[in-house]
Symmetry: C2
Subunit: 136 residues, 2 copies
Amino acid sequence: MSDDETRATSPISDDAVLAANRLFYEALEAADLDLMGWLWGHGGDLSCAHPGHPPVWGRKEVMGSWRSVLAHGGWTHVIATDITLVRREGLAWVTANENLLAEDGAGVASALNLFEHDGERWRLIVHHAAPVYAGP
Amino acid sequence: MSDDETRATSPISDDAVLAANRLFYEALEAADLDLMGWLWGHGGDLSCAHPGHPPVWGRKEVMGSWRSVLAHGGWTHVIATDITLVRREGLAWVTANENLLAEDGAGVASALNLFEHDGERWRLIVHHAAPVYAGP
């Protein structure tokens, strides 16, 4: 196998995953349902757990949950911190602390975002977000 | 490629993933740190988020967190319900509701458990657990 062929099995840089992850938080902050829909994959095995709730499954249910969450979020800024990235062939997952800033306070959730490369770009296939308790 | 070779690329049944997942909840219920350690992988990119807390990273930190959680859990039963499984090549993830029953009440967390096959068996590499709020 040539070097080119070797590289061809893993052609996507970490930057592309992190860029998709940044877009996810831009969509969340801007309550941009169209961008959110563009970011997610299309399989029936998508899952999404919003803080405090068990997961919903499948493209239709996941996007329905985002329609509700983005309509009622109430935050003004979403700042992702403590970002980590792990890569495998065709899959990558990010953990991030989601700092949700609103007029009347702030909250933090811890998220796991799993992306799959569909041959074209990285698409979100799992979002699992957990409320993080304040204090020590 | 023969049929045998085709199968060899995906030789592990879903049962093996679900069996590993069952052992995880047995380890949790029995507060069995040795079994928990056997179930987890060994890479530096392991991560584990306990309910209400941001994730910890790496084998040493993950097992240290389990040592603390299992010593102070206080539950008598851990019943995993609503189990779903998604498979990719060499990776599989389970979502489950973790029903933690104690003498003085019960709690529910929603977990994402990511397993990786190391050539021998499925090992846990990510556990991300989120408290689920009671009520409607």
